[in-house]
């Protein structure tokens, strides 16, 4: 009998976080990610961990800040409007160079929007997410298995670079059920000599802070942080290439859009159209080099998104005018059908824009 378990994407994130050593979860319910909190509420008390439903998203992200300052693995999760509320805290985490895992199971927006799946928080996730110069590591799962794997990876990257890792999923990924294997190699968390753990009168105080009284000093931290970002951009890009060897059309898609696109690509291949896909797994750092290399070979790109076209801007920057990039999209909680993607691929193949 199979060792796998059948899990919702949201549950897979929660269980993977526990396996990765996270014992502190703070959150506030919001559809379509509530199962993460519900799962943590059941599991954490049994393993000596902390589940706390905060009075708001803002409270939850600041509790994350507090636990992270003590060097423990910690997370919060929410969906689009709730992530906006966490914005201030995300910026403070970046300013204090604190590691954390934040999950955004996106829903349609803007505003209160709706509860159906969306990818329209791409800008928010990849371009900072709040005030000040900063980035988060943004991981985009396209299966329930990846929801689990990228959660484990997210904790490791967060600790390694003292940054927030964001899992950028969507309502479909959160709610759908698939078999998952939960055996992972867990990297031991690195030593955190900066953590606030009590000096025992044996060392100077550690201070975790994002306020700088001297602008020269604040500037220096910004430049140092961007040196780290540059290293990450060169070393941590993750992506999947699908049928790109002989491709003349390149689809760009992540998460649920990539799954729909795979079906459309298979149908297009059956019709003799040479089409492939680059699926970014890290949205920041973005696989810029891979798209730039593809631009030397293919005649057109199609960006498939559950938004009004956000990732398409990064694709266009990477392609740098060498080929047309068209958008195939639905928004507001709707998902493109494989037929719509197939039509966009056929149009790109004919050279239509």
């Amino acid at each position: 009998m199979s060792d796998k378990v059948l899990m919702k994407g949201n549950e897979a994130i929660a269980e993977a976080a526990i396996i990765a050593g996270c014992r502190h979860y703070f959150g506030y319910p919001i559809t379509p990610q509530t199962e993460i909190a519900a799962y943590m509420a059941k599991r954490m008390p049994k393993i000596g961990g902390t589940f706390l439903q905060a009075e708001s998203e803002i409270a939850a992200i600041n509790m994350v800040y507090g636990v992270s300052a003590t060097g423990k693995r910690v997370m919060t999760s929410s969906s689009s409007p709730g992530i906006s509320l966490k914005g201030e805290g995300l910026s403070y985490l970046a300013g204090a160079d604190l590691p954390a895992l934040v999950v955004n199971v996106q829903r349609g927006g803007p505003g209160l929007g709706g509860i159906q799946p969306s990818q329209s928080d791409y800008f928010q996730a990849t371009k900072g997410g709040a005030h000040g110069d900063f980035h988060m590591l943004v991981l985009a799962p396209a299966s329930v298995q990846e929801m689990a794997e990228l959660t484990v990876k997210g904790f490791a990257l967060a600790d390694k670079y003292r940054m927030t890792s964001m899992i950028l999923a969507d309502g479909t990924m959160g709610q759908m059920m698939e078999p998952v294997s939960l055996s992972f190699d867990i990297e031991e968390a690195p030593a955190k000599p900066w953590a606030v753990t009590g000096t025992k009168l044996e060392r100077p105080h550690n201070i975790v802070n994002s306020l700088f009284l001297k602008p020269e000093e604040l500037e220096r931290t910004n430049f140092e942080r961007y040196e780290r970002y540059k290293y990450i951009e060169e070393n941590e890009v993750m992506y999947e290439e699908y049928m790109m060897e002989d491709a003349e059309i390149c689809v760009a898609a992540f998460g649920i859009a990539a799954r729909v696109s795979k079906n459309a690509i298979n149908e297009a291949r059956a019709k003799g159209i040479k089409v492939g896909m680059i699926r970014p797994i890290t949205l920041w750092p973005f696989p810029t080099k891979q798209f730039a290399a593809a631009a030397e070979k293919v005649k057109a790109f199609v960006s498939v998104e559950l938004s009004m076209g956000q990732m398409i801007e990064d694709v266009r920057l990477a392609v740098n005018g060498k080929a047309p990039v068209t958008l195939c999209n639905r928004a507001g909680g709707m998902i493109p059908a494989p037929e719509q993607v197939l039509a966009a691929i056929e149009a790109a193949n004919k050279g239509g824009n």
């Binding site: 009998m1 199979s2 796998k4 378990v5 059948l6 899990m7 919702k8 549950e11 269980e15 559809t31 379509p32 199962e35 519900a38 059941k42 349609g108 929007g113 709706g114 509860i115 159906q116 309502g171 479909t172 709610q175 759908m176 059920m177 698939e178 078999p179 649920i256 799954r259 909680g333 998902i335």
Partner: protein
Amino acid sequence: MQEKRITIFSGHYGSGKTNIAVNHALALREKHSRVVIADIDIVNPYFRTKDSEALLAERDIRLICSAYANSNVDIPALPPEIYAVTDDKSLYAVLDVGGDERGALALGRLVPAIREENDYEMVFVLNRFRPLTRDLDGVFTVMREIEAACGLRFTALINNSNLGAETTEEDVRGSVAFAKEVAAAANIPFWYTTVHESLWHLFSQESEDYRPILLQKRM
């Protein structure tokens, strides 16, 4: 298995209650003219009984569900029509209850009338591949939480152990002993093991212990 007027399906969320409820309603309709299926799931925003609306309409099975099901309105509301289940005793009713104790809370509203009439089955749907119902302790925790929340005891068990599209013959056969152990420990009858139609040819010669099940289309 004796047929009661009301059949309630409950269990850990994601165990397959909605699919089984729809399948049960379809089977009931083969024998009875007035069949109703009521979705009283106030927890799960996606994958609802309403997904089978067209099929149910085609088979002349009445669907009672929240006016907001499958919309963008995330309101845990039940329609007043729900009382038809207990008021109209000429109906054969299937109740699709939400997962876990949170979902079962909504059933409590109907329980006094269900108890009084005393013509019901409350069926625990088991999927041993779900993370919180993999051992006896886990299953009993979920069972007792549901019973405490709604005020009814389970009267039967269905084994719906599956890994979605990846389910193998071995997965199905391997789950039966555990399901029977759960039923025996809970002192309730074991009804049957479900088999997805794609695997049914491997089981069709078996005893009544196995039943074919049509799965709803999923993404």
